[in-house]
Symmetry: C2
DNA sequence: TGATTTACTTAGTGACACTAATCAATACGG
DNA sequence: CCGTATTGATTAGTGTCACTAAGTAAATCA
């Protein structure tokens, strides 16, 4: 078992725990993980077109339509006609949507943050460096993987175009 | 933006790229990511009961039934009656299933391994240490998160109970 | 033996993902 | 300016994956 295998196993453990655990936690907020992700993106960008969101989430436009249908039915988002291009619609988050995102903080936070923050300073630094290295190796994509972080940043965090 | 946020962003980038990228890659093998995961577990354990697999994947028994139905319909697995308990069934992988797992190596491997292996030795060590730290923080579950690694290890890797 | 538990399946539902086709609005070329 | 092509969003239809509730068969226990 070499280091490559070790690192892969660790990554998979991370994936697995967040995925499965994320389902339970999101459901406690009455929303699915995917729905929360959409809300986060909408909240972060202020007003995005369906196409924007679908590209950001790597999902086809029809999928986004149905996701937005569900979120709109729950009163979490609204679709407004665009002024500049009447084919487009601007998706905006409602008060209820913003509240929901706040109530359903990211699954990662729940079990991770407190532990991370209790680490030594040098450990935190090492972990950040390593994670960013790994992310860079994996995330070699063209698109702007603007990090949807946590709901605390969403209210004022409009300019989240992490390039 | 403190270190906690940085680490969360990095983790999310990892999750996102592997999730979305994983879909495409798994489909190239004619199987979905979930199906591959089942096959990996079955291959790794030799013969597992549906219950075993469902618990391992954190999925309800009916879900596992339908997953196994699909895999059986494709000839990837077989359900054999258990000798010790006739309520149980032993799920075993077929030749075709093993081939499929081989053809569809983990998405992680594809973009990650070559880059990782080109790193300096000290960098590899640092990354492994950091990833395992993060995994331990996230993966605070009761069950044995036996790492399904890559298909190359499956043929002989029976004893993969990483506790 | 009869009641309970356990393992798996069936039935029914919902979320999420896709492709193909549709409709409205914009952009382009002559 | 007008017709065609392109673009943005939706509708229609399908398949996978997830769940709960209920059913069947076998094992266990009182």
């Amino acid at each position: 078992m070499d280091r490559t295998d070790q690192s892969l196993i660790a990554i998979r453990r991370i994936l697995r725990s967040t995925q499965t655990y994320g389902r339970e936690l999101a459901r406690a907020a009455g929303l699915t993980p995917v729905q929360i992700r959409v809300l986060q993106i909408v909240a972060e960008t202020g007003a995005a077109t369906p196409k924007d969101i679908s590209q950001r989430m790597r999902v086809s436009p029809p999928t986004m339509t149905s996701l937005l249908d569900r979120l709109a039915a729950k009163g979490m988002v609204e679709r407004q006609k665009s002024e500049v291009d009447r084919r487009q619609k601007n998706v905006v988050i409602t008060r209820a949507g913003r509240d929901a995102v706040h109530r359903a903080p990211d699954p990662l936070q729940q079990r991770y943050v407190s532990q991370f923050e209790s680490l030594q300073d040098w450990e935190q630094a090492m972990i950040v460096a390593a994670l960013e290295r790994v992310a860079a190796m994996l995330d070699a994509t063209d698109f702007d993987a603007a990090p949807v972080l946590d709901s605390n940043l969403l209210d004022d965090g409009e300019g989240g175009t992490a390039g």
